[in-house]
Amino acid sequence: MTPEMKGFVLLSVVKMLFVFTVVLVGVALLTLMERKVSAWMQNRIGPNRVGPGGLLQPAADGLKNILKEETFPSAANPVLFVLAPALAFIPALLLSGVIPFAAPLPLDFDVTLPVLGRFVHHGPLPMVVADVPVGFLFVIAISSLGVYGIALAGWSSNSKYSLLGGLRASAQLISYEVALGLSLIPVLLLTGDVSFSTIITVQQQGLWLVLPLVVSFFVFLVSGFAETNRLPFDLPEAESELVAGYHSEYSAMKFSMFFIAEYANIVTVSAMVTTLFFGGWDIPFVAVGTAKPWALFTLAPGPIATLLTGLAFFAKLMFWIFFVMWIRWTLPRFRYDQLMALGWKFLTPVTLGYIMLVCVVLYVAELAGLRGTLPLHLVLTGVSVVCAIALFFVVDRGLIITGSASRRARRAGLRPPQRLPVSF
């Protein structure tokens, strides 16, 4: 092995250790955060007995889960029953390796260690474990594998509740993957690349993509909720209907693996939203290295820039994780028909239409000779905002999610749909 390659391997190992430690510890702390946030939203205190302010609660939970009895239903398929939690867990964790979490760090070193030999590295070090060129395609591909874990868990438990949960999960994940994938096509059209680093660079040149592609962002967010099985899309584990859905028969650490997978998926979705639509590690009005419109400050690439951008990424990530919890403790679960109708009859056609719209705008902009990233983004922002207003103020009245009372009224022809006197 050449010294350069050894340097690469060394740095990769360090980054892996860093990212996976942060993600695993973070996931443990997210369970505490979820319980705290839910408590505050319900005027309660939340866990506060273990450690200062309940900070060691995840450790106590982990210890409990390791010491608990592992149950094996006698009728379960033993191989798949054990394999399923791992299948849910591994893809969820893998994804944290491809999201850039800070600005590249210029790093040069040339050291010789006693046994291992010479390590050399030159040039900027991307702050991501694997800066894969296939970018979000990799995320979509790997995150789809998670459904195998859930479906197999449901099937191999040999319990009707688990099976129903697994079936629902498969149907839901596959339905919403369509909308999820399609909602990223406008990003691809606008940035011309699927790699996260390029997408972040384009957002630094223009606007954060949430503005030019607000409809895409909305569809991605909703589908992301559905993909992580979070409320209001938690039908696979609907307690009131299915005991605990696909993990009804699991106990101890195997149950915990599903739990960790769920929270790791939340982290991934939040990181995706942050990176694709909110500029990733980009700090508003601050340019790092490259020129940027509206930059008030310029940071030279270096440890400080990397640290600050890392903090910016972390802040945005935490906001979206909080947002996921916020939604969970606000909205009730959808009915199954509402879930399917939302996915197939609303999100998918809307996204297809939006792709067409973005294509037309890009084509017209090119014909009109619009140059540069920023003017293009501004034009698209205008078009998208009009589009979003049309969606949320006109189409979203009885078409997206319909309550049972209004459905009944409409079916019976009792009264034509009216506007409520109160304004939402």
Binding site: M41, N43, I45, I327, T330, D396, G398, A405, A409
Partner: protein, 174 residues
């Protein structure tokens, strides 16, 4: 007075889901900054309204585990009339009457099985001597089921305040 039934007015018209969801999110967010209503139980406890005050109080009509009142000589006030085992709907009072040389009746055995008791308070209501009472008390944990059969000695040794039963002629307790 007719019983008021709360009828929820559900929207029969079309409402926007997204905007309704945003409204709900504003509500939950507001709640995050409100004062918590949790009682930190083992540290903070409910006291009975008359004797403790504080933020948490039990109703004076709370019916908890029993207490047998005693007279000045420390004997129980019970005259073993047998009304309480008679009225007890759960049949949890065991009473064996005895009589001393002066002809006064007293309980030889008086036991209440607190597991069978439904805490209706009829025993207190029916007692002519105001001897047996239900108490304003909770926290009754024991290590064995047998310990939940309270005998006369234990009933007399209880010190917690007793409940004032609801009087139909004075519904507000004034």
């Amino acid at each position: 007075m007719a019983i008021g039934v709360k009828v929820l007015k559900r929207p029969e018209q079309e409402v926007s889901y997204v905007r309704a969801a945003l409204k709900g999110m504003a509500l939950t967010f507001k709640h995050m900054f409100e004062k918590s209503v949790t009682m930190q139980y083992p540290e903070e406890k409910s006291t009975d309204g008359e004797h403790g005050g504080g933020q948490w109080s039990l109703s004076p009509r709370w019916r908890g585990t029993h207490r047998m009142l005693t007279d000045e000589q420390g004997r129980s006030k019970c005259v073993a009339c047998g009304l309480c085992p008679q009225i007890c709907p759960a049949n949890c009072i065991k009473l064996v009457p005895g009589e001393d040389e002066e002809g006064n009746r007293y309980p030889l055995i008086y036991e209440i099985d607190e597991f069978r008791c439904v805490f209706c308070g009829y025993c207190q209501e029916v007692c002519p001597e105001e001897a047996i009472h239900v108490g304003v008390h909770y926290e009754n944990a024991e290590y064995s089921r047998g310990r939940f059969v309270y005998d006369l000695e234990r009933l007399s040794a209880q010190t917690h305040p007793v409940s004032s039963l609801w009087d139909p002629t004075d519904p507000r307790g004034e």
